[in-house]
Amino acid sequence: MSTRGRIISTMLVSAVLMMGFSLGAVAQKKVVIWHFGGLPAEHKWVDECIKDFNAAHPEMKVERIEKSWMTKSEELISAWQMKAMPDIISRDSVSIPDMVEMGMLAPLSELFAEDIAAMKGRWLEPAWNLCNYEGAQYGVPTYVDIAPMLAYNRNMFAEAGILVPTNWSQVVEAAKKLYTPEHYGIILPATLGLNDLQVFIGIAYGNGGRFLSPEGDKVVFNGKGFVDALQLYVDLFRKHKVTPPGTLEIDYMKTIELFLRERTAMAVGMSWFPIVVQNLGVPEGFDYRMASFPVKEKITGKYPSASAIMDATTTYMMISTSKVKEEAWEFMKWMTRPETMRMWAGVRIEGRVPTTHEGFKTPEIAKTYPDLVREYEKGTVFKGAISMPSFPGFTEMTKVFGLSLQGALLGEPVQEALDERAEECQDILEEM
């Protein structure tokens, strides 16, 4: 061949090869997932799962982008308006109603009806239903965070020779006995942060209180259920003084830290207590357990006692405008298959409450949440558990509600504190 011929043929071959490569790249579908919040241990592990998935499925590429938990609503609304949405998001299940109303989410039970019907059985119904809205399933939950929970220091309890409290009076007794110059009896986080309020709301729901009436038209957190729960807090803080003087500036994080440093015998929090502990590092010789926060000896609230309030904080949801729904669904199934779910159940991540039957059977969960497992075996776990409150206007109301919590702790009479803010919230509700 002439030189010119050789040059031309080289160019042709390169062109064909380049086209081939680019076509191959185009043929590989990209799935973008926005992961809101979560702690570094979880992120690392999810990335490993993604790597495995990508290796097992060369025709698609999953890319995870981490997003801040604090600005999650703004980011999504911004992206929705600019039509720059990802394919999958993982965030809390309480936000599902709002997002469905905006049209953001794809109804999985309609798009992948067979798969959904097949997988459904692995999950415990109350957890599965957290992602259900108006009859359609919009997400697959991985774990739930539940409130309220009580963390207790086993060494201190053993030394004082007392048993884990099983009702409110015992909580008070234990706190009083365990209050020494070295450590407080119990820490109740009481800032205006949402986590702190959810914990308290959980305790109140356990006593038969409710934030809104079941019909959703009346604010009822000034009912007896809440009043007595608030009185418990106030007594522990003001009457028995077994809590830190700075309770109103101690939030859930500081609570955990102080608990780890043995500055308190007990602490209330949510079920993700252990995962924060895992991140912060457990000191030598520290021995603690999680128990459900006990209910009052006699329930005084008007409504059924809720054994817990739940939120599936890392629920995988699909965006309605995604162009790669089939591939995204493959990934979602991968992240929620039994092997992966076992990781959430204590094998890799400690401190998340499982949502599947197989999750409750791992030895790690038995160690972290012994009484939840006992209830599972009895068949009563999550019985009466309901979703954490979430409805239009809730965000506005939480701050107002928080003021009644702080007001009572600072000396306002409990019923009045709740009545005043309930009235304000009723106004907000009616304006909606």
Binding site: T247, L248, E249, E396
Partner: protein, 298 residues
């Protein structure tokens, strides 16, 4: 003969070109927003709900009828009053102290300004955490010195929290005041003092009749600057307590933010902004009136 290639009006025009840019910027970013706020405050704009209707003075009525507003207003008054007083006294004392001659004087003078240089967010964080009731260094030191038996909840105790936050604001401002005082003191010729000493005046008399009159000008400016800076201390309070337990450490700027971004009531927040603005305007006019003689010279 100076070269003047342009006619009278063109020259005037080009002179205006030098001077107008800041005016334009200020009108766009400062004057117009005020008018927009006035307009906004007559509606009931809400960040989430779309219905908008004209409500005239309803926002203002609701604000003035609200008990909490007056608590917060009272907080702001105390904040400015005690704040200005304390800052001026400390600034005055410190300025006079720095005027003395001692060995490491220049070192102290240069380091003293650091709180003012440090960004407000940083200062607020540093103090917030030192004042933490359980894990802060201040309680730790006080405990070790046996000055307290139980940890003090600096930022959670209703009666204390406002003044604690105020301290941080003062801490940032008094360096500036003290250096202003120092500059003024440097400007007073030594002969004055020497003459006063010869005439038999003691320290206190010298201070009252010689020093203080010279300082009056600096102190007045200091007072006005302080009040303005204090009225704008959103960041300090917000980072330290976000308004404190309940509303005990909340001042007007924080209320404005919360009304707009936590209660989502944009119009009512605009009304509050105007109330805040009104207070500031009063001080500005006061400033102008006090220095009216100087303006004639301008």
């Amino acid at each position: 003969m100076m070269k003047d290639s342009s006619t009278g009006t063109t020259r005037t025009l080009s002179q205006y070109l030098y001077v107008l840019p800041p005016v334009i910027v200020i009108v766009v970013f400062i004057i117009i927003p005020i008018f927009y706020a006035i307009d906004l405050s007559f509606y009931n704009v809400h960040l989430i709900k779309p219905r908008v209707k004209l409500v005239w003075l309803d926002n203002y009525f609701r604000i003035f009828r609200n008990k909490t507003f007056w608590e917060i207003f009272y907080n702001s008054v105390r904040w400015m009053g005690f704040g200005a007083l304390a800052t001026l006294l400390i600034g005055l004392g410190l300025g006079m102290f720095l005027n003395l001659e001692f060995r490491f004087n220049s070192v102290v003078r240069s380091l003293i300004f650091i709180p003012w240089i440090m960004p407000e967010v940083c200062a607020a964080f540093a103090w917030r955490w030192m004042l933490n009731s359980e894990m802060g260094v201040i309680n730790e030191v006080l405990g070790r010195l046996n000055l307290i038996s139980r940890y003090v909840a600096w930022l959670a105790e209703p009666n204390m929290v406002l003044y604690v936050c105020l301290w941080v604001a003062i801490w940032r401002i008094y360096p500036f005041i003290s250096l202003m005082i120092l500059a003024t003191l440097h400007g007073i010729p030594r002969e004055f003092y020497e003459a006063g000493a010869i005439d038999g005046a003691n320290f206190w008399q010298r201070f009252c009749y010689l020093t203080f009159p010279q300082l009056r000008y600096a102190l007045t400016i200091g007072a006005l600057l302080t009040v303005i800076w204090l009225m704008n201390s959103f960041t300090t309070v917000f980072i330290m307590t976000e308004g404190g337990p309940l509303h005990y450490s909340e001042i007007l700027p924080v209320l404005i933010y919360k009304m707009a971004f936590q209660s989502y009531r944009l119009s009512r927040a605009a009304a509050l902004s105007l109330i805040n603005f009104g207070i500031l305007l009063t001080f500005s006019l006061l400033y102008l009136w006090v220095f009216r003689r100087q303006w004639r010279q301008v």
